[in-house]
Symmetry: C2
Subunit: 254 residues, 2 copies
Amino acid sequence: MMEKAAKPATLRGVQGTIAISEIFGPTVQGEGAVIGKPTVFVRTGGCDYRCSWCDSKFAVLPEFRSTWRRMPPEEVFAEVKKLSPRPIMVTLSGGNPALQPLGELIRLGKAKGYCFAIETQGTVARDWFCELDHLTLSPKPPSSGMETNWEKLSRCVEFSGPETETIMKVVIFNEWDYAYAREVDHRFPSVPMYLQVGNDRPPGPEPADKTEPRIGELLERYEWLAGKVVADRWNEATVLPQLHVLVWGNKRGV
Amino acid sequence: MMEKAAKPATLRGVQGTIAISEIFGPTVQGEGAVIGKPTVFVRTGGCDYRCSWCDSKFAVLPEFRSTWRRMPPEEVFAEVKKLSPRPIMVTLSGGNPALQPLGELIRLGKAKGYCFAIETQGTVARDWFCELDHLTLSPKPPSSGMETNWEKLSRCVEFSGPETETIMKVVIFNEWDYAYAREVDHRFPSVPMYLQVGNDRPPGPEPADKTEPRIGELLERYEWLAGKVVADRWNEATVLPQLHVLVWGNKRGV
């Protein structure tokens, strides 16, 4: 089912606006199927999850709501174009970007040659998923403290379009997370699985926070995870680090 | 043009055998379009290039020829199967693997569900390129000391098949290498470009060599390269590190 035609901005009101935490870039995507690709990030505010190791609490916790802006899609796209006048991949992240009405932003951008990727936990399926170029579903493993609703996740997969590259991305901190990723893979055998080393020293929500990851430890955990995948002959999986964390640590806006 | 049907091993003689430097894995691919994927490496011996910063001199220089084995394709595939009884991606590397008769090995493996990737500089086009799943052409930039034959490189692109994912991968050490990568991209606009940070402390050819890369410097060079790509609005490029060098340094067999 497609969304209805866009209404004029004056009639759309707060329903049609997008809660924006930050828009930044261009930088390179540090994760997943399009790792290393130049991108502009559109980070929305608000989330239905509270992951213990969340690295974007400023876009999740209600006490930061005053830092979010309610913007119509035209205004969001104008900022994206200002950051990258040439068409580029736009990454919709959060928070949970699927809580926001992003269909019109995607259509505005695609009409100008931009392509779109989203990163969402897979709790809310949207009809505009089928217009995305890349749909990354990252259901959260046990270490997050969250529980997976498999039906909702399944619905998200079904909503992707024939041109949408859909993948699962599971962040791994320990053996239980790894077992969970195997379960996701058994439930969705046709969706490519990306395993990602978790950052156990995520930034605090305040800009003044000085927590930094330990690169040596992250690389050792990559070695551990790659070793497990290879030992289990899980030959279809892809194992990746968070490249941006290796290069820029917990710095924001890169 | 397809190769002729395989002759019995006794008639094939040295012409049908493959010069093998090493077969190892499974490990994860550290570079390019399939970064992070489990793979078994088949490294052939012999090369038509002498890159100044070559990281596999033991598979290139004639003085190491005595360490290479001449193996029939059946024997190579038997070793691959021993290392990974489950189908896996096999990466053909070198030296220059395009110097070897690899068509039969590829057909043997594909019949059993294995898939094949090659890494070659693009100086020799082979009819069996069209049977590959991944063709990585890595023409060498000025810092290598080598010169590119554009016609030969173009022929390699033409030899890829409709199912072959073909990419260009250029290793970057400096501004001139970067300018060279732009030229490759202008000549082959329809082939995706992967830029890779070069390792300026490659291992020496002897196993006893203790040279190790400096991880901090490699990450800084990644930041420099990503910054250039973004500043130049080269939004179609992909910028990657050598993941295996970050994780395992110059260690062989991983």
